[in-house]
Amino acid sequence: MVILLALMVGLMYAAGIYLVLRRSLVKLIIGLILLGNAANLLIFLIGGITRGEPPVIGEGEFTLGEVYADPLPQALILTAIVIGFGLQAFAMVLLEQEYREAGVTDLDSLKDEDTDDQ
């Protein structure tokens, strides 16, 4: 499974970068979301994956057993997911507002708006 997940992470990064390189603002945001997901999956994978041993202390016990999934990467990723959502939500609303004001979703035409310093 590790090999598949590693391939998956690579594919998601590639897809994310490819979308970020597009001119459309909508694609840019889809790309950002994909990159965020890919990063989470990467941390999860590198942290070491274990089947069926969640880091939860069982009934009547005081510590985790011998085999358990590493709780630390999980805590990190949980934070990352939530923060990522904050970023994505902000980016999406920004895009929507930008379109309402400037009327374009083409990044190249946005460029002309703020470089008339001559």
């Binding site: 998601m12 990064y13 897809a15 999860f44 985790l64 999934a69 805590a75 507002q97």
Partner: protein, 765 residues
């Protein structure tokens, strides 16, 4: 000592932010600051004469070899006395001269900042500390030149001065660092012992050239002199203080300071003699052709600085004694001339010599101040200038091979300077009065102008005292040879007397020739296009245009361009590097252990990712994005992360819902990019993905057990009373992190809310 240096900075801070509290009444108290410092340094004269050099040690950044040590010897003491003494006069004069100015707070703030920096510069014993103070004088000079910031030309002059002196300062820094590296210390007192190490080093010429770059820019030597006349845009008290009496002499100070360590025949002497010689002649000639009194003063200052460099180049005890005396003489008569000019400017509204006549009748004391200054400048008894001129000739005559040429050069310069001095001290006061000033000149204006002249006469009448306290110790400090028995009121009929008489006679003739300044003469010498200043300005414009073009290429405003450059470089560099470190010894049993349901999930995920990229429908793309999120959610479930799965599920749903809601108002996709760009981006993205894949496998090869997870596994329940370890970490062990995360989310939420509410009424055209 530390207090003496730092008090100016503290005062500067206080003044600069005083705002409207800084009124006329307050400003009368400010001269007490430099005056008390002057008294402090004056009390140091005797100890310094007795002991040579006194060290004051204060720790600063010792681990980097930077200390706040101060060294008080005859050289730094002379400068410290000039800085505080002339400073007192200038501060006093400013109370009257700047009386009605609205921004007294800034004025006194900058002036104090300058005074403190200059004191630090001449007292610093550590090369790095010295450099810091050096730069601070450049910066305060920038603010003071541009003090009348509404005047565009003042702004440009300030910028020119900053660029020239700051550029020179950078080169100086390199010279100082190289010296420190070679000597193994940044302490001047220790470097003093390693003169031979420096002179024998192959880097010696480089150090000299870099040092000269710093000195010549700061002390306005040809061809870097042009910033100084421009700097005369500053208020007259500032010109007096910075651009005549003290700051421009910082370069001379540095030369004198390093004279014992770096001097030698060849590069050191020849460069200084040639540059100093050209500068003193060039400045003196230019001065005579000007009509603006401050321009005359600027060029005579350049000439005087040239003389100082020239004397350092001669390097004999006689020359250095002459240097020490001339620094003092020049500061006294030149500050007096500047202050006289300021008075005339203030009372008549002009400082153009073609319009000023016969004012001696209305302001006899100012006339007296001007005449005393001109007298000292001319080198006539009883003024102190008499002695310095004698020493100057004595030094040039003492040159072994070229004494005739150098003395001739000195003679011509002195003749021209004498005439220029009379243009300031005599010309505006004689003849038919051109103006009838109504009010009497305030004593706060004439007194500071007269005082240096009186001092110069008093000192001139006491040659033995001057020799004991200044010239002889000065020469001894810099050359280790005492220099005595050369200053006297009457030395008999000798070569020196003959030269002095020639100077006077020729000077008077030149003055008579030039005594009616004409505007037409200015254009004779003002060749803007060919002057070093004009050429350097042109070069600067070219440089700016070059970088403008470069920036337009690099920073072209296309996000895609930036991203592809960054990703491209990352792939290239990491790709090149990673091929050497890949080991490929994977634990195949572990990485190929795949269950059927996982494989199916992966398949769904691949399809979703591909669809989200290639789909032409935005709704489909967003839906596949949701599907990708859900697959990740399943992966979290398979691999023992139920909390992550729950979070991912919630967030993924929210994202998709939000996106769909907002998408409603957006237009369809643009399909603009051509096939070539698609392929290029595909290769770039594919390369990046492959890199991440290899990187991941490689990292998985490394052991990950850090022991931190064991701590949490053991203590989650015992210490924090929670059974879900992930949750315990988030809300207990790393609770503050989570709190801050919530804050971040709240900020993002506020941002989202205000963006939705935002109505741009004033839309850009």
């Amino acid at each position: 000592m530390l207090t003496a240096v730092l008090v100016g900075f503290v005062a500067a801070l206080g003044f600069a932010f005083a705002g409207n509290h800084m009124r006329k009444s307050v400003s009368y108290w400010i001269p007490f600051l430099p005056a008390s410092l002057f008294v402090y340094f004056a009390l140091m004269v005797d100890p310094v004469l007795a002991d040579g050099a006194i060290l004051f040690q204060y720790n600063w950044a010792e681990s980097m070899g930077v200390s706040m040590n101060f060294r008080l010897d005859i050289l730094s003491l002379l400068f410290a006395l000039l800085i505080t003494g002339i400073g007192t006069l200038v501060f006093l004069y400013s109370t009257a001269y700047m009386r009605d100015h609205k921004q007294l707070d800034r004025f006194y703030g900058y002036l104090s900042l300058f005074m403190a920096s200059m004191l630090g510069l001449v007292l610093a014993e550590n090369l790095i500390t010295l450099f810091i103070f050096w730069e601070m004088t450049s910066i305060s000079s920038f603010f003071l030149i541009g003090f009348n910031y509404r005047d565009k030309k003042a702004g440009r002059a300030a910028l020119t001065a900053l660029c020239i002196t700051g550029g020179g300062g950078l080169l100086l820094l390199v010279a100082l660092l190289m010296m420190g590296q070679l000597a193994g210390t940044y302490s001047f007192t220790e470097i003093l012992q390693s003169g031979d190490v420096l002179r024998d080093s192959s880097m010696y010429p480089v150090i000299l050239l870099l040092l000269f770059a710093g000195v010549f820019t700061k002390s306005a030597q040809f061809p870097f002199h042009f910033w100084l006349p421009e700097a005369m845009r500053a208020p007259t008290p500032v010109s007096t203080y910075l651009h005549s009496a003290t700051m421009v002499k910082a370069g001379i100070y540095l030369l004198a300071r390093f004279h014992p360590v770096l001097e030698g025949p060849g590069l050191w002497q020849n460069t200084l003699l040639i540059v100093g010689g050209i500068t003193m002649l060039f400045g003196a000639i230019h001065a005579l052709f000007r009509t603006d009194m401050k321009a005359i003063l600027a060029y005579t200052t350049i000439s005087a600085l040239g003389i100082m460099v020239f004397l350092t180049g001669l390097g004999t005890p006689a020359a250095l004694a002459a240097l020490g005396l001339f620094i003092l003489v020049h500061a006294l008569y030149k500050s007096s001339m500047f202050l006289v000019t300021g008075v005339l400017d203030k009372t008549t509204g002009t400082r153009n010599l073609t319009q000023l006549r016969g004012l001696g009748k209305y302001m006899p004391l100012v006339f007296a101040a001007g005449m005393l200054a001109a007298l000292s400048n001319a080198g006539l008894l009883p003024a102190l200038g008499y002695h310095s001129k004698h020493l100057f000739y004595e030094a040039s005559l003492g040159h072994i091979t070229h004494s005739t040429l150098l003395t001739g050069l000195a003679l011509v310069t002195n003749i021209l300077l004498l005439a220029a001095g009379l243009l300031i001290g005599l010309r505006p006061f004689t003849g038919q009065p051109s103006h009838h000033p109504a009010e009497r000149v305030s004593s706060l204006l004439w007194l500071p102008a007269l005082l240096p002249g009186l001092l110069a006469v008093a000192a001139g009448l006491a040659p033995v005292f001057m020799e004991k306290t200044l010239t002889s110790p000065f020469a001894k400090e810099l050359t280790t040879t005492a220099f005595e028995g050369h200053l006297h009121l009457w030395g008999g009929f000798d070569q020196l007397l003959m030269l002095s008489v020639m100077t006077l006679a020729a000077g008077l003739i030149v003055y008579w020739k030039f005594s009616t300044p004409k505007e037409s003469r200015v254009t004779l010498v003002n060749r803007e296009k060919l002057s070093p200043g004009g050429l350097m300005y042109k070069a600067a414009v070219q440089l700016r245009n070059f970088f403008k073009t470069l920036i337009h290429i690099l920073q072209n405003g296309y996000l895609r361009y930036y991203t592809s450059v960054i990703v491209g470089f990352l792939v290239l560099l990491m790709g090149l590097r990673i091929q050497y470190s890949l080991e490929f010894n994977y634990d195949l049993a572990r990485i190929l252990d795949i269950q059927a349901i996982e494989a199916v999930t992966m398949l769904v995920m691949v399809i979703s990712v591909v669809v989200s990229v290639v789909s032409k429908s935005r709704l489909l793309a967003v839906a596949s994005l949701g599907s990708v999120g859900l697959c990740i959610c399943l992966i979290f479930l398979y691999f023992s992360a139920p909390d992550l799965a729950m979070t991912q599920f919630t967030i993924d749903t929210l994202t998709v819902v939000l996106f769909v809601l907002l998408l409603n108002g957006l237009p369809a996709y643009l399909l603009k990019a051509d096939r070539g760009i698609h392929w290029r981006d595909l290769i770039l993205a594919g390369g990046f993905g492959a890199l991440i894949f290899l990187f991941t496998l490689e990292v998985l090869n490394q052991p990950t057990d850090s022991g931190i997870n064991a701590f949490y596994a053991e203590n989650a329940y015992l210490l924090a009373k929670g059974k879900n370890v992930v949750n315990v970490i988030l809300v207990d062990f790393r609770g503050v992190d989570t709190l801050i995360e919530i804050v971040v989310l709240a900020v993002a939420g506020l941002g989202v809310f205000s963006l939705i509410k935002l109505k741009v009424t004033d839309a850009p055209e």
